[in-house]
């Protein structure tokens, strides 16, 4: 038996033991915001990134710790490939943290407390759209907007592009112009980036007029083949064929793709508003970065694919639920903490503002004028793993797969995985 299999099996064994000991209860522990000691150590499993470092989180919670004698907060980074897999492993080994600071799939919701129906909870960004069984189990400090195209203004000038494209047709034409001017038209990368960029572009088309599209897909009333995804996949296939998006893009890492864009080698880069932080901190940029909303099929202004930024959940298994709730309330309501959080990644929240750059203001304007928001490739109604599958399918366009086959693969995957 392989050691990995043995470890997985052991973890599973522990999980069953934990489950049996806990009586597999979904309602154990004190009520949200209720009991629990008001002193002790709170363990926070956080999504650590180049921006959201351990030091960042420690600084964020420092005022709370200072004003709560006897309370300590330990920031833990994921030991697995990501926060959710780490949480899964910690749950089965019986050492789950008190708080998780990361976006999680709804499948985890049953392990989390339902936040109280208070105004401080309901007023957090996108709290409604992420409800599971009518319960808010994640509260965020802000909102990320992702249907954005960052562009190199110098490249646009050299390519003779005077106004940013609005429709897919204009976007395609501009990619060709950028290539003609010696630039990589659209910067992308391998890893998770390819599929994420695609969903940032195509999700407003998929979900803009029908927020319940995924639920309808689960009932087999709609298909990917007849959806906006097909239109975008066909467009993407064309971009690869004409060389506007280099075939060897998948050999890039995410960070390299940012570096390449900031080095001025590519014309456009589809990315979430968190890219502002990288652009703002870049030194000696040889060009000015602009931003516009992702193109739509008909040229209309798209809804923004949005996600909760820096969300927090509290584990049912936490022995410090009351204290954990106090800490989460502080993190999502304290003006200084929220502002610091928003500023760290260029995020947004109604009623909050912070001094930003010209680029921050440009993104803010797009957010303000967007006709609404749509979800990403995870959330209520979306089968776990769909984001990964979408990424694989979009990447298959680079390896010679046709858009028709790619969209058929999506339908096939969904049929096989629905309700798993």
């Amino acid at each position: 038996m392989s050691s990995r299999t043995a470890k997985a099996s052991l973890a599973a064994g522990l999980a069953l033991s934990v489950c049996a000991l806990a009586g597999c209860s979904s309602s154990s522990g004190p009520a949200a915001g209720g009991g629990g000691a008001r002193t002790g150590n709170i363990r926070v499993l956080a999504n650590i990134t180049p921006v959201l470092t351990k030091a960042y989180y420690q600084g964020l919670v420092a005022p709370f710790v200072k004003s709560h004698p006897g309370v300590t907060v330990t920031i833990e980074s994921p030991s697995g490939t990501n926060v959710q897999s780490t949480l899964q492993q910690e749950l089965v080994s019986g050492s789950a943290p008190d708080i998780v600071a990361s976006t999680l799939d709804p499948v985890v919701a049953q392990q989390m407390i339902a936040f109280p129906d208070s105004s401080w909870v309901t007023s957090t960004p996108l709290s409604d759209s992420n409800k599971v069984d009518g319960k808010i189990w994640q509260v965020a400090t802000g909102q990320q907007n992702q249907s954005l195209v960052y562009y190199n203004q110098t490249a646009f000038q050299k390519a003779g592009i005077t106004t940013p494209p609005k429709s897919l047709a204009e976007f395609t034409a501009d990619l060709a112009k950028l290539k003609g001017a010696g630039y990589v038209g659209l910067q992308t990368a391998g890893e998770w980036v390819t599929g994420a960029q695609f969903s940032m572009m195509a999700n407003p088309g998929l979900l803009g007029d029908d927020p319940g599209w995924y639920a309808e897909r689960n009932k087999k009333k709609v298909t990917f083949e007849q959806s906006a995804y097909n239109t975008y996949l066909k467009a993407y296939e064309g971009w690869i064929k004409t060389g506007a998006v280099p075939k060897n893009s998948l050999g890039e890492k995410y960070q390299t793709s940012i570096d390449t864009f900031l080095a001025g080698k590519s014309g456009m880069f589809v990315m979430g508003s968190w890219l502002n932080a990288s652009v703002n901190s870049a030194k000696n940029l040889s060009f000015k970065v602009g931003v516009f909303p992702t193109p739509t099929a008909d040229g209309s202004t798209p809804k923004q694919m949005s996600g909760q930024a820096q969300p927090y959940s509290i584990l049912k298994s936490s022995k410090h639920q009351g204290l954990a709730l106090d800490l989460v309330k502080y993190l999502v309501t304290d003006k200084s903490a929220v502002t610091a959080s928003l500023k760290s990644e260029g995020n947004f929240r109604a009623g909050y503002s912070y001094p930003g750059t010209e680029l921050d203001a440009a993104v803010g304007k797009i957010v303000d004028t967007a006709p609404g928001t749509v979800n990403g490739t995870a959330g209520p109604g979306v089968n776990a793993g769909f984001g990964n599958e979408l990424n694989t399918v979009v990447q298959s366009l680079y390896t010679g797969e046709s858009a028709d086959k790619a969209v058929a693969k999506l339908d096939s995957w969904w049929n096989a995985n629905a309700g798993q």
Partner: protein
């Protein structure tokens, strides 16, 4: 030993009494044996047998790793395995990596061991150099080679955009790259094992072969290699087991891409279990992998044993 002492101490004992004493002695010996074996038995049961049993149980459930309790769904996960193109591709790739990697690691390992089988300072340094990749973590090596072979990596930067090579972006190139990096990072341990094996070949036998007029090739083929047979078995089994569960290096080097083309079987198990939160399905894949590893290991060992016995005869 204990029984023989008793029989010499009481030679006049009657037949029935003697049998009874011997039986008591056997029972005491058995009890002592069990007492001594208990700790390792508990460890083996706790760390191997019980987890395997639980993994097998989970493979018949739809458990997602979070909600509970797991629901039994019969053989559905196993049926799904046969229909899942991602699993089939991962299985094929893993077998390809294992087949090519096993041959390459052993041929390279033995070849380099033969070159380094003389004790001097340069060889000592070269041995360390060859073994070094094996010591460094697979994830670090993956990222290192990714930065060397990526589209914007050192090699492509050196050759320029016009001659850019798709080491990690083209499916065929990516598979070849993955196999090469895996072999490069793994064969150091084979070198060490073959070196150890070569040290056991008596100088007198080699001298005798030389006196008999054997060429270096004949000496290797007819003398050294047959005597290295047990080492070859160990090396082949180790490499096969290692390659059947290759994962970390691929994660860091290609993240399974492009388009899932370099996703190995274990990579797929972890994707199913954690990314797709289908732990039951992942457990079914783990059970299949476990069966394959045990079968292949037993088969190789048996085949090599027969071969060694044939040589000895």
């Amino acid at each position: 030993m204990r029984a023989s002492k008793e029989s010499t101490a009481r030679p006049a004992a009657s037949g029935a009494a003697g049998r009874s004493a011997r039986a008591r002695a056997r029972r005491r010996a058995t009890t002592a044996d069990i007492a001594m074996m208990a700790p390792p038995l508990v460890l083996v049961a706790g760390l191997i047998i019980v987890p395997i049993a639980i993994a097998v149980y989970l493979s018949f459930t739809d458990w997602n790793g979070f909600t509970s309790p797991p629901h039994l769904i019969g053989f559905r996960n196993y049926v799904r395995l046969t229909e899942d193109s991602a699993v089939r591709h991962a299985a094929f790739l893993t077998l390809l990596i294992t087949a090519v990697g096993t041959v390459a690691c052993n041929v390279l390992g033995l070849g380099v061991a033969l070159l380094l089988n003389r004790n001097n300072r340069i060889n000592a340094f070269l041995r360390v150099l060859v073994f070094y990749p094996y010591v460094v973590g697979a994830v670090i090596l993956g990222f290192l080679w990714s930065s060397i072979l990526g589209t914007s990596g050192a090699v492509n930067a050196a050759v320029g955009a016009k001659h850019s090579l798709p080491f990690l972006s083209d499916p065929t190139w990516a598979v070849v790259t993955v196999i090469c990096v895996i072999v490069w990072s793994s064969f150091g341990v084979n070198v060490v094992l073959y070196l150890a094996g070569l040290q056991t070949v008596p100088d007198s036998v080699i001298e005798a072969a030389k006196i008999d007029g054997a060429t270096p090739w004949q000496t290797f083929w007819r003398v050294k290699l047959p005597m290295l047979a047990p080492t070859v078995t160990v090396n082949v089994v180790l490499v096969v087991i290692g390659l059947l569960r290759v994962y970390e290096l691929i994660l860091a080097l290609t993240a399974g891409g492009p388009a899932g083309e370099t996703r190995s079987f274990v990579y797929n198990i972890l994707t199913s279990s954690f990314d797709n939160t289908q732990l039951g399905y992942g457990a079914a894949q783990s059970v299949v992998l476990m069966v394959v590893i045990v079968t292949v290991t037993v088969a190789i060992t048996a085949a090599r044993r027969r071969s060694e016995q044939a040589v000895a005869a």
